[in-house]
């Protein structure tokens, strides 16, 4: 695949990670299409063929609802993430979308200064290139671990 398109995907990943790591959650839904799907689950559930998600949204509107809840309703201590990504594997899917798989590590830094390796896993993405910038038609976050420390408030 030509380099331009690959770089466009890397750039999408970069902007997505940066928006979250810098706490700009309001921008997060806009990385998805209107009917974009976002799901966090665990490798254990996937391997067992079980559908249970940790977070599950089937539209950008649902993502906005979650952001609003995180801003106005939910209680959690101030914290930030730091994403680093593994190399992305990108292919052109039969559906005409770009299919990408990218590994990640996310550190969580609490306001107290406590830093921990919080989550690792893979992004499984279907990306549409239409319009100004590519968007996620679907982003599935598969966590390597079955276990979350305390809570998972900020999206991954």
């Amino acid at each position: 695949m030509d380099i331009e398109r690959r770089l466009a995907v890397l750039d999408l990943n970069a902007r997505y990670a940066e928006a979250i790591d810098e706490g700009r959650l309001e921008e997060w839904p806009d990385f998805f299409t209107d009917d974009g799907r976002y799901r966090i689950t665990t490798a254990e559930n996937v391997e067992q063929g079980l559908p249970l998600p940790i977070v599950y949204a089937t539209s950008r509107a649902m993502l906005r609802d979650r952001v609003k809840a995180l801003r106005e309703a939910n209680i959690y201590e101030a914290q930030r993430y730091r994403h680093v990504l593994g190399p992305a594997r990108i292919e052109l899917g039969a559906d005409g979308m770009l299919h990408a798989r990218t590994g990640f590590m996310v550190a969580r830094i609490m306001h107290t200064g406590e830093t921990a390796l919080f989550a690792t896993g893979t992004y499984r993405d279907r990306i549409v290139e239409a319009g100004d910038a590519p968007r996620f038609a679907e982003r599935t976050v598969i966590l390597d671990s079955r276990q979350i420390d305390t809570l998972l408030a900020i999206p991954l």
Binding site: P53, E72, I75, I148
Partner: protein
């Protein structure tokens, strides 16, 4: 200085239970180092029943699953005839774990260390080279290694839930639960469960802080603003609190129909949050009255560490596994029922946004145990106030009450002889 005196002295202060009975909980109970091991022996390995897994997690003969009795590792199996057994996950020989996986298929269990073998009842069936090799070595004929465990648990299955205990004395599970709790367990487990999946949370607090949280019907609508804002649960909604005879178990429930009260708004509760507005995607809260009784929320707990949850159509069992003085694993397993169609499953999955580590109405609970564990660091000789709804542990209609929390301590003290 005479150390010894000092030490003794200190302890005595610490260990005395406040005179006010169940309305005051001393903070040392969450941070005393020696207490942890004592709880393991007197409560988890004592005269109590622990939920091990759903029967559905052992779908076929010759399958196993690992679980815990407090922090003691357990194996649960379904043998070739379909019977369910549970025993210590500890080899009779030198104590190695027998099962190294969460779940799997097995006709026998082979310890990896020296290949001793067990059947699915936990009976020792083979000792490698027991008679030695070429007449040399091996084990004395009179040695009875099978007498060294793994200890087998008493197991009972109630409404598709597998419970186990080390106790010979404790009553069978149904009388242990009591009629009211048993009935409400049956209410939720109305059909064979179909697994949807699971995950776990590591909580930064003592296990008792989580159990208090579960039994605390007072906090739900105050801590979980999402709950209140969307009237999923308000103390003003019709509902009640059921507490079993000795305080051990509880149910907190409420009806979906909202009396449209304005109590929270009048009281100016943060959690009422009048101007929050609507959801852009209200389908998140779509639900059906599958139990046909209008009860939209039923949180049920069984002493010491089991929770059965019905939030609308989102059903889950939670296992509370102590992992040390101030760490607790909370293991969630969600399920629906065999015969659920795709739409119903999708409904349950969408509602699962409400629960777990990212749950819009549950994420706060995990953190709350930590807020208390940290808040009391300098106050081991102080105590909490548990006086909402008076000092009793009786069932009542009002959930503006900490009666179920007092119930927990009533039964805790009975088991700990404290």
């Amino acid at each position: 200085m005479n150390i010894h005196e000092r030490t003794t002295h200190e302890r005595t202060i610490q260990r005395s239970w406040p005179s006010d009975g169940l309305t005051r909980i001393p903070y040392w109970i969450y941070s005393d180092r020696d207490l942890y091991e004592e709880e393991q022996a007197k409560i988890f390995r004592g005269d109590t029943w622990t939920f091990l897994c759903l029967e559905a997690e052992l779908p076929r003969p010759n399958t196993f699953r690992t679980a815990n009795l407090g922090d003691m590792p357990i194996v649960v199996t379904r043998d070739k005839d379909g019977a369910i057994h549970a025993f210590e996950n500890r080899c009779a020989h030198r104590g190695s774990l027998l099962c190294l996986k969460e779940r799997g298929e097995a006709r026998e269990i082979v310890c990896v260390y020296h290949n001793w073998t067990y059947d699915l009842e936990g009976k020792l069936t083979g000792v490698a080279f027991r008679r030695g090799i070429a007449g040399k070595g091996g084990m004395p004929a009179d040695c009875r290694p099978d007498s060294h465990g793994p200890r087998r648990l008493r197991v009972e299955i109630f409404a598709g839930l597998v419970f186990g205990t080390m106790s010979e004395r404790v009553a069978p599970i149904e009388p242990y639960l009591g009629p009211e709790i048993a009935a409400k367990v049956r209410r939720v487990m109305k059909a064979p469960a179909k697994l949807l999946g699971g995950y776990s949370q590591m909580l930064p607090g003592n296990w008792k802080l989580y159990m208090e949280n579960v039994k605390d019907s007072y906090h739900a609508s105050l801590l979980h603003m999402f709950f209140t804002t969307f009237r999923l649960n308000r103390l003003s909604q019709k509902g009640g609190l059921v507490i079993s005879e000795h305080g051990d178990h509880h149910i907190s429930y409420s009806y979906t129909a909202d009396v449209a009260g304005k109590e929270y708004e009048q009281a100016g509760m943060r959690s009422a949050n009048a101007d929050y507005g609507k959801l852009e995607a209200p389908e998140l809260l779509e639900s059906v009255d599958e139990f046909g009784d209008g009860v939209g929320l039923q949180i049920l707990s069984v002493f010491p560490g089991f929770v059965l949850q019905q939030i609308r159509n989102c059903l889950a069992v939670r296992r509370v596994v102590p992992q040390g003085l101030d760490r607790t694993e909370l293991a969630w397993t969600c399920f629906g029922f065999e015969g659920d169609d795709e739409e119903m499953t999708e409904l349950r999955l969408r509602q699962s946004n409400l629960i777990g580590p990212s749950g819009l109405i549950s994420m706060e609970d995990g953190a709350a145990t930590g807020f208390v564990q940290r808040g009391i660091r300098g106050a081991t000789d102080w105590e909490s106030v548990v006086e909402m709804g008076g000092n009793g542990t009786a069932s009542e209609e009002s959930r503006v009450s900490e009666a179920a929390v007092r119930g927990f301590w009533k039964s805790y003290r009975r088991h700990m002889k404290l």
